[in-house]
Subunit: 517 residues, 2 copies
């Protein structure tokens, strides 16, 4: 990753011409280049403390150079990017340590407890909720615990259709290892190319094909976690009544309860067929009702995504065509994966239902365009920042009966807080009982973009909470959503989180300031 931008620097591009015209029309163009990459502050830790770790892990795996630390400074939210572009690297870790095994992870934790050093587990660095910004006060230092050396496929059980993955595997690496065995995990969040298996588990990630493959938490069969109190392995069976499901405490624990060192996942056969298609709806409401009908009939495609009128008009579902021929109504993308027979049967059933509900087939091209561009939106965000436009996303999930109200409330909150902003939305994760709503906001960055965005985000969070929806469907809590978590789980829920934290991490060295209110 680039320290100031998303993803692979070779893939960074200026705005396409069409989009440039559109942006100029909407917001004006203000050339806003990033400052030259800054140096992080000198390590604030007593560097002799690191010698112990060097003896254990090898000197090559305990790093304090500027470049290594710069790349592990914060995540990739728009505020994170704005600060990096402005040269602010005050949150850089004092060192980056790269254990090569579960036992070495445990050794790093023991060292951190002994010296009271804060530890920030680091996978792909793609957090957009401040999950990688540990509180420094009171600690002897902050180290980034980079899991990049734990990237093996440890075991495959073809009979049970499970696989044991190490946490540092990035999405494409995990898929490549599984594909060699004829298998797939099917988990494709927008961060897929960079985010890691451990991060998917620690943040309850959800992928673009969640309708077909399930959320990541539902794909997790077992976990191994290193905690300051010791090692825990969970997941003895496909299902169990042996008390509370403790896996669900570590899924979503964001590095605050322990470091996930192995993830046993459910896998599926590689699909024989992948087919994408588009459908048009006269309105977001009509399309959403169709999505609800599919979900409640047990007839979901593998991928299902519905853009609202604004997102459809802007064409954000098709980044290569932004600013091109504008489309009316709402675009739905449906993707089907599986055996030829299963895909054909599901397409027929879904198509019949969508047609009966008033959908109009829009051919394969919109679906294929979506698939081509499915990981590209974050690059576009950088290109927009370069011309002075702040772009950020936020998401929630709610029950079907509250969908309209939540949508309206969040939109209104954003439009009020950011006059002139463009607010786009799509619905992309679908359940029998409800769905996620994913908003994209674009507004002139202006003189104080960080403050402007912070106020807008707070207004949106308040609106989400007031409408009874969840503060996050798949971006996790981090430090950004932490002030809103108590609304969702109450005083008793907060108390339980604190009790678990105190038990597993009694001296509080694990990702302090993240998740637990």
């Amino acid at each position: 990753m680039h320290p100031q931008r998303w993803g692979d620097p070779a893939r960074a591009e200026a705005l396409p011409e069409g989009a440039r015209g559109l942006v100029e029309l909407a917001f004006g163009l203000v050339d806003s280049p990033a400052a030259p990459p800054a140096s992080p502050p000198a390590p604030g830790i007593d560097v002799t403390l690191l010698d112990e770790l060097r003896a254990r892990l090898g000197a090559a795996h305990v790093l304090t150079d500027d470049e290594t630390r710069r790349l592990r400074t914060r995540g990739k939210s728009t505020p994170d990017l704005l600060r990096a572009r402005g040269g602010d690297l005050t949150d850089a870790p004092d060192a980056v340590v790269r254990p090569g095994s579960h036992d070495e992870v445990a050794a790093v934790l023991a060292w951190a407890v002994e010296h009271h050093v804060a530890v920030v587990p680091f996978g792909g660095g793609t957090s957009v909720t401040g999950g990688l910004v540990a509180r420094r006060e009171g600690y002897a230092g902050v180290v980034s615990l980079d899991l990049a050396r734990l990237r093996r496929l440890l075991a495959v059980d073809h009979t049970s259709m499970t696989a044991v993955l190490e946490p540092g595997l990035r999405g494409p690496e995990a898929e490549a290892l599984l594909a060699a065995q004829g298998l797939t995990l099917g988990h494709h969040p927008q961060s897929f190319e960079f985010a890691t298996i451990g991060g998917f588990a620690a943040t309850r990630s959800s992928g673009q094909a969640s309708a077909g493959y399930g959320r990541f938490d539902s794909l997790v069969v077992g976990l191994r976690v290193a905690t300051p109190r010791g090692d825990v392995r969970l997941g003895a069976a496909p299902a169990s009544a042996a008390g509370p499901d403790l896996r669900q405490l570590f899924l979503g624990s964001e590095g605050a309860f322990g470091v996930i060192t192995e993830v046993t996942v459910r896998v599926r056969p590689l699909p024989e067929v992948v087919h994408d298609e588009g459908w048009r709806w006269p309105s977001f409401d009509a399309g959403a009702e169709a999505v609800r009908t599919l979900a409640q009939a047990g007839l979901l495609p593998t991928v299902l995504r519905l853009s609202d009128e604004t997102e459809t008009a802007i064409g954000l579902a098709r980044p290569d065509e932004i600013g091109g021929q504008s489309a009316s109504g709402c675009l739905m993308v449906a993707g089907f994966e599986g055996t030829a027979e299963a895909v054909a049967a599901r397409r027929t059933a879904v198509g019949a239902l969508l047609t009966a509900l008033g959908g109009e087939p829009a051919g394969e091209e919109p679906g294929e365009a979506w698939r081509r561009g499915r990981y590209d939106a974050p690059y576009l965000r950088d290109a927009m920042l370069d011309v002075g436009v702040l772009v950020e996303t936020l998401e929630t999930a709610t029950f079907w009966s509250r969908r309209g109200a939540t949508y309206a409330a969040v939109r209104a909150a954003l439009e009020t807080a950011l006059p002139g902003a463009l607010v786009l939305c799509h619905l992309s994760h679908v359940y029998e009982t409800g769905c996620s709503l994913y908003f994209t906001v674009a507004a002139p960055a202006g003189d104080a973009p960080l403050e402007r965005w912070r106020a807008a985000k707070a207004a949106a969070n308040d609106a989400i909470v007031a409408s009874g929806a969840t503060i996050t469907h798949h971006h996790a809590v981090g430090s950004d959503h932490r002030p809103w978590l108590h609304h969702e789980i109450g005083d008793v829920g907060v108390s339980v989180l604190r009790a678990v934290k105190a038990d597993l991490d009694p001296t509080g060295v694990l990702n302090p300031g993240v998740l637990v209110p």
Copy 2:
């Protein structure tokens, strides 16, 4: 319920003739009537403490009479029945309290904390793992907190397909209330007729139609729980990444963390069509491989159950025909529920796959017979005890790759511990990654049936743990499985459970001795 037998006394029957002959052949018949119902010991609590509760709940809802206490003594495991039949009521609660609302439940908990009285939440009283036997030592008394007055359907959301149920609703009551709205929960464990919504949640119950409707934990959208620390409401959205899923801590908490006072469940339309059918397999292995194939192809019927050779021969899947014409091979029952169109499509697809895998259709009668007798086996157990035969069940779940080994190990453990015992098994809850194994054991009760069973159960538990399976798929932990739980969740898992318990129930009044090691 009868204090010494399962279920409705009017439905208790002597063994059918055919079964009687079979039992005589296998074990001999020893007339073993229960002792006349005994009186429980006088309440061991300072009865003036109860006056406070009477003032709060009304005198009619704080009961200490023998009959009321007798019916809330222990659960319905075979050891529980043997003790009750022998006149041992030493575990009777000192009083039975019946709060009528969430606030009254909270008031009972506050009273219990103030006076250090142990509280045993009571739903249907159908526990088979010692979930209703609180530790008495050190407490001012033990009260049974009977949820029978909390049995309303509080809300229905037809758009989101959810319903809010109170915990004291028994299975048929909940289904009747939902049916009046055109809806069903679809949760049918063998205890369905007596067990309650709160109990289903607190024990992670799984129903006979779990293949179609899902385990109870997967049906729970939201929970309200009264704890000594306060009230908690969880489940703001269909799915969330807002930290650990705390619902999963209360699901399976067996009354040790709080009292569940509202359960929001996912509901489905009442099925238009219910169709059951039988299939024959040459062996348990062949049938199990077919079940695995269906599960991994995403082609499960609503009900799927496969008896092993012995269970098929005995005909336990058809209690009305026990001892009748013996059948060879293994019987599978497949049930389909849904719209006419969905059932037809699923039957065709399942039938084609089963035929291709070597299954032989056995017509509708075996499936219909299973449905007629689906709740009857526990009555048969009493009839067997009456003639001196101990019958008990136990269950586990494991991954497909370990199915054969777990099956063989548990069977061997039971046959070794109980020479001459008959061990039957079926596979009845199915997942992509594995399945449950449900064992029924019959053996002469002999002179010391409790001790004999305890040794056999311990041997089976040891075998389950050694084979890497879960100590319970759907019977919960209670006090009976508690000594084995640490094998499954490790020292760290036990520590977490204790930390949560200490946080929510700091003085330990909730169901002491149950669940938490």
